[in-house]
Amino acid sequence: MSITTCYQCGLCTGICPKRLVTRYSPRQDLEKTLLNKEGVDLWSCLTCGLCSQYCPQGVGYLDFMKEVRQNAKPDLDCVAHKSVFNLISRLMVTFPEKSGVPTGFSGESDPKNAVGYFPGCIDFLDSFLEVGTSFHPVGDAAIKLLNATGVKPRIMGLKCCGHDELWQGNSEEFERLKDHNTKALKESGIKTLVTTCAECTRTFAVDYELDIEVLHISQFLERNQDKLKLKGSGTVTYHDPCRLGRHMEVFDAPRNLIAQVDGVNMVELENTREDCQCCGVSAWLGCSTESKALLVNKLEEAEQTGAATLLTTCTKCLAHLNCVLNEKPPLKEFKITVQDLTTFLAEKLT
């Protein structure tokens, strides 16, 4: 629904995770926009989509944010990690022949396969983040799991999907990445694109106009779960990333795969599925005391379940949550570990 249908009831502000730690008011920003007033806060929203889930009028706050951020271009100083990830993705379109995401992973691949796997920015995260976890194994694990289902995927050396440029309002930069990738995907002839990051899934599936199937790896594996023999132990819980959960309504696939692991006990977070709380950061915007407070909340909620491991399906959630676990001096002593579902499942293959 268009924002003009907003009744100004304020449920959005009441439910907004950012409001827990700031004075951010989605309701007021809708009112300001409707009456052509200045002062709309473009950058506080986590674009988690929780408000739209409950809005009585079905106002699409995500689409609203996407629209008002168009060409808004935040000051790059506001972007975390010295905006290095913007620089990397921009280099990819400046030198299109010489750059793309790295594709060197173990396991069996086939450059002619109709199923493509896109690892996303994981190797760049390893290069520039020190958060106590490494990301490259997500790619290795993905190929191992795909191999176990009998698929030798084609490894897609695309450019960055553009998720962060899009949600940062760098519209031209996003469109250039999108054009490159759309052309490359068309030329590749693949029929299915599998990704391991929820952000890539959402971006290719929703923000591109592709005529191929885009799947998060959990969806692909769920379809082939009878081919996977998985065994483990202990208790885990699962965090629905905004991009895969509310944005794409993929809630069951990761849970069905966890249930497939013999010996592993799954417990739900208090706020789960459609109600899952955002990890606290999106598109590298506003990495701050406030976002750390939300990340700590999330980890506390996970520990309260009694689980030893918090699993997720978004590389960025994985980075942000591990970043807080790894903070020095520690913000809080946590016992829980945070792991990507893909590496978790690959370890459990028998």
Partner: protein, 337 residues
């Protein structure tokens, strides 16, 4: 022959007369004005279905005139009512006829609120401040213009709760103003899509069937500003409205080329005399009190229908007209035993 009196030839009275005749009763319908139709005569399209008020009156009038059991007297006022064992003896004023009726349905309707006394709105002083009823007259001719220039306004503001929910005028909610304002705002948007249309409101009350009009108005770009206007002044050929948007806390001056006052309703001036004549009681606001909802007055054989007992929309008035007819019929059957 036994007879039923219906007082008031608006939509409620007309429908009550038709239903009574349908039930086999002989009806005398009295209307004070020269023409039947009541407030509907001043209205354009009716919510929620958008049918023409004029067409509705024409159709109902035709039905009434075609019915041999209904006698219509317009330009009529009641001079006296005498209760006798055989029924009520009604005498019309001006040396008019007298007749006997065994039961009565009072459907005296309402009067539009006169916003003149609310000084800050400037009604009567500022040419481009009009009432919603005056806008209806324009809409009947499928136009919206500024009285000062005769040209279409680029900027229209509707002010809600004028004469309603205000201890200086009437404390009650007039029930129909939100819905008709939405209807009128949509009509203005349709006639002049480029115009800015604001509705300045405290609460929007659109029960049951009417909520979709609220959503539609928002979808079509009508702007809603939560505020009660504190003053209107004329400035360089347009009006300035002083408002505080209570949702943002900002005070501002809102320009308008046409201001429409969404006036509520009051009880009709004739009610006290009628109450005295039929020994009925009135509420503090001058509407007939109902002893047992929806239409039973507490006085034998006398029923109250439509806005005479409090402000209502047309579908509710029609329902009470039919309820009144059925109650009269039951009462008449009881008399025969």
């Amino acid at each position: 022959m036994e007879k039923v009196l219906v007082v008031g030839g608006g939509i409620t009275g007309m429908q009550a007369a038709l239903d009574l005749a349908q039930l086999g009763l002989s009806v005398t319908l009295l209307e004070r004005e020269a023409e039947l139709g009541g407030k509907l005569k001043q209205l354009s399209a009716l919510f929620p279905r958008g049918e023409s008020a004029r067409d509705l009156i024409t159709a109902k009038k035709q039905e009434l005139e075609d019915n041999a059991n209904i006698q219509i007297t317009t330009g009529a006022e009641i001079e006296s009512v005498d209760q006798k064992p055989s029924g009520y003896k009604i005498t019309l004023s001006g040396g008019g006829a007298s007749f006997e009726a065994q039961a009565a349905v009072l459907a005296t309707g309402f009067d539009p609120f006169d916003p003149g006394p609310i000084e800050e709105y400037g009604y009567g002083r500022l040419t481009d401040v009009i009432t919603a009823f005056e806008l209806e007259a324009q809409l009947q001719e499928e136009k919206v213009v500024r009285p000062s220039t005769g040209s279409p306004p680029q900027n229209v503001s509707f002010l809600q709760c004028v004469g309603s929910r205000d201890r200086r005028t009437n404390r009650y909610c007039s029930y129909f103003c939100c819905t008709y304002a939405l209807k009128e705002a949509l009509a203005v948007k349709k006639l002049n899509p480029a115009s800015v249309v604001n509705i300045l409101y405290m609460d929007i009350r659109t029960p049951y069937l009417y909520e979709h009009l609220y959503t539609e108005a928002r979808e079509k770009g009508v702007r809603f500003i939560r505020s009660r206007v504190s003053g209107i002044t004329e400035q360089d050929g347009h009006l300035d409205l002083d408002v505080e948007n209570t949702l943002t806390g900002e005070s501002e001056t809102l320009p308008a080329e046409l201001v429409v006052l969404s006036t509520g309703g009051v009880s009709t001036a004739g009610n006290p005399l009628l109450a005295e004549q039929f020994k009925l009681t009135l509420s503090d606001q001058g509407f007939f009190t109902v002893a047992e909802p929806p239409v039973t007055s507490g006085v034998e054989g006398v029923f109250i229908a439509g806005a005479a007992s409090g402000l209502k929309d047309i579908p509710q008035c029609l329902a009470e007209a039919s309820a009144g007819a059925i109650q009269v019929s039951a009462f008449m059957n009881g008399r025969k035993k």
